[in-house]
């Protein structure tokens, strides 16, 4: 425990009861009359977590879905209690687990600023003082007296984020809220976050966007299934996360072809030194390990990428490059390299088709799934809104 620790977390654990029936009156009554205690299912969401955060530090928490990141922030912001262990926070705490908490759609933007501000812990005086700044930052002066139900969703989150951005606590806990609004606004939010980070405030930041994490944080932890897997300097923590996390599930490959046996498919990020974690903008490689069952020639390989709704997005085909494999070894690896992955964050799947002399010899839909994380497609590491599937390079100029 160092002397300038602002946040000290000691052996923190959290167990959730998963007791679906507890909300049912009938269950409660039958439980009341039966003497034996019914077993409830337990979930260990955090297991013996300890770390310190120093004054003025920006501390990152990363990990896959369900690893306990939000649970940890909820405990630190008093929303829920730990099951055991202890946390000490020295300073006024504000938590930002969502933007626009408590916003009411019938009320005007102005009224919602006051409402949301005081929910976030600002005093009326403070809000009045910062009001113009908040409105200015949001860029929606014209609609400030319109009920927010008439706002577009973009305007809504901009206003909501603007209120949050003007909090001035000593300790700020932030969960995944930096990716709201359009690109322009995101750049502004990142700028604001940088400002906060450099203002000597202590910040804990949870994000799936490893670019942002590496940019803003000095130290951090990597959580998986409620346990700290790695902690310390953020570069190392991010690296450990990328090396160990398997972002996709491989189907057991069916033995369906008399011609060829595909034993393994991998998608790797070359940018990330062969890690299986894929980020937007990475150079990636799809590797298909195979064994020929008969002598093959003129092999055409087609990979179709679909989104979560099975919508076809694009295909890769060696025909496009007039690169049909004329001779095929008995055993080997087919690789397909994509220099810059242009997909937004999300889950995708791949269909694999193989043809010999225009005759289909292998066809598996959804042969594997993979996930794309936020990354540095653009130098700014800013990600477009998640309903935009593709990213494209482009150049701006004004004359």
């Amino acid at each position: 425990m160092s002397s300038n620790s602002v946040i000290e977390v000691q052996n923190l654990s959290k167990v959730y009861d998963i007791e679906g029936k507890s909300k049912d009156l009938r269950y409660a009554i039958s439980k009341f009359f039966s003497s034996k205690n019914k077993e409830t299912e337990k979930l260990l969401a955090l297991n013996n977590i300890s770390f310190n955060v120093n004054e003025g530090e920006v501390f990152g928490i990363i990990g896959p879905n369900g690893s306990g990141k939000s649970t940890l922030l909820k405990i630190l912001s008093k929303i829920t209690f730990p099951t055991s262990g202890k946390a000490i926070l020295n300073g006024r705490v504000s938590s930002l687990l969502e933007v626009g908490t408590g916003f009411h759609h019938e009320l005007s933007g102005r009224e919602n600023i006051f409402l949301n501000g005081s929910i976030l812990g600002m005093s009326k005086k403070e809000i009045k003082k910062k009001f113009d700044e908040i409105v200015d930052f949001s860029g929606i002066e014209k609609f400030i007296d319109t009920p927010v139900k008439h706002y577009s969703s973009g305007m809504y989150v901009r206003l909501a984020f603007s209120v949050a951005a003007h909090l001035e606590p000593e300790i700020l806990l932030v969960d995944e809220v930096l990716s709201v609004g359009d690109m322009n606004f995101r750049r502004k939010s990142m700028g604001k976050m940088n400002e906060v980070a450099n203002s000597g405030r202590t910040v804990i930041l949870v994000s799936h966007n490893l670019g942002i994490i590496k940019n803003l944080c000095q130290n951090g932890i990597y959580l998986d299934r409620g346990e700290i897997q790695s902690s310390g300097i953020i570069q190392k923590v991010v690296e450990d996360y990328q090396n160990s996390y398997k972002p996709y599930q491989n189907k057991t490959l069916p033995n369906i072809s008399k011609h060829i046996d595909v034993s393994k498919i991998d998608i790797l990020s070359i940018t990330n030194n062969g890690s299986k974690i894929l980020s937007t903008g990475d150079e990636i490689m799809i590797k298909i390990k195979f064994k020929s069952l008969v002598k093959l020639r003129n092999l055409l390989v087609k990979i179709i990428v679909r989104d979560n709704n099975k919508q076809v997005l694009f295909s890769c085909n060696n025909k496009f490059y007039d690169a049909i494999f004329e001779s095929v070894p008995d055993e080997g690896i087919i690789t397909c390299q994509i220099p810059k992955l242009a997909l937004n964050t999300g889950e995708y799947s791949i269909d694999l088709f193989l043809e010999q002399d225009r005759i289909e010899i292998f066809k598996v839909f959804e042969i594997m799934r993979f996930e794309v994380f936020a990354g540095g497609f653009y130098e700014t590491a800013i990600m477009p809104y998640h309903d935009r599937i593709f990213l494209v390079d482009h150049v701006w100029k004004i004359e």
Binding site: D17, F81, P82, V93, L97
Partner: protein, 271 residues
């Protein structure tokens, strides 16, 4: 400022009060929101605060006094009902709104910390303007139809305060029960409908046989409303039974806070 987070480190009574004081601005803001939202889209706005009790009073006096021939002791039947309705309407509004106040704010509860009791409490606060308007309107009616005033009228505000406490007590009980047992919300509207008849709004307990009268006073609102009639019209008051009502009210108030506190602890996990 130093915060220690630990299991079972609930706040003690003094810290709780201090915390409520620290969050007073949020209480006002939430109450203002509820008030504003309630009238944001209604054409008649706050006039409803007059129309609603008046219509209810006319209806009740018709059913109870005209048809069931309940005795109003020479008091104008509509005025008689109105004096009961001001307390009842406030009470039932607060209980109705308060019961669902936590469930409806579940997203907020999961995302930010604040003393959860502010949610039902803000409903009690937001209903005050309506109460005030119905009192003003009833006063006009009272001045027109009544001319036999006594100094007891000075106790009137006390009974109104008791009605407010009753509203808060029941709504913190119900809102917490509603979190524990979700089907509780189906019971509440039913309970309120029954309450409208077993509370002496358009009648008095003077007409009930003395052996059974105490049953009515188990309902704290009976004590409150008979108290209002006593100070406004000088009707007979059963002080011992009133005491019973008040003891029950005090118990509901204290146990309500206690139970709420218990439910509040893991509310974000179970809501």
């Amino acid at each position: 400022m130093k915060t220690i987070i630990q299991n079972n480190r609930g706040l003690n009574f003094k810290e709780k009060i201090q915390e409520l004081y620290d969050y007073r601005e949020l209480l006002w803001t939430l109450a203002y929101r509820d008030f504003k939202v309630k009238y944001a889209q209604t054409f008649l706005g706050i006039i409803w605060g007059v129309i609603e009790p008046l219509l209810t009073a006319i209806l009740l006096s018709f059913v109870f006094n005209r048809i069931a021939k309940a005795n109003t002791f020479g008091i104008n039947p509509v005025l008689f009902s109105l004096t009961g309705i001001i307390a009842w309407n406030y009470f039932s509004n607060v209980v109705n709104q308060g019961t669902n106040s936590l469930i409806l704010a579940q997203n907020m509860i999961k995302k930010i910390y604040f003393p959860r009791i502010l949610l039902p409490a803000s409903k009690a606060l937001a209903a005050l303007p309506d109460l005030l308007i119905s009192i003003l309107f009833t006063s006009v009616y009272y001045l027109v139809y009544w001319n036999d005033f006594s100094a007891d009228i000075l106790f009137f505000p006390l009974f109104i305060v008791l009605a407010i406490i009753a509203g808060i007590s029941i709504s913190i009980w119900f809102s917490a029960l509603n979190i524990r047992y979700r089907d509780f919300r189906h019971i509440v509207p039913f309970a309120i409908r029954i309450g409208l008849f077993v509370t002496p709004i358009a009648y008095t307990t003077n007409e009930v046989s003395p052996d059974l009268r105490w049953i009515f006073f188990l309902n704290p609102l009976t004590g409150v409303i008979e108290g209002i009639r006593w100070c406004l019209f000088g009707l007979e008051m059963h002080w011992k039974l009133f005491g019973l009502s008040m003891i029950i009210l005090a118990l509901l108030f204290i146990t309500g806070f206690y139970f709420f506190n218990k439910v509040e602890k893991n509310i974000a996990d179970v809501i």
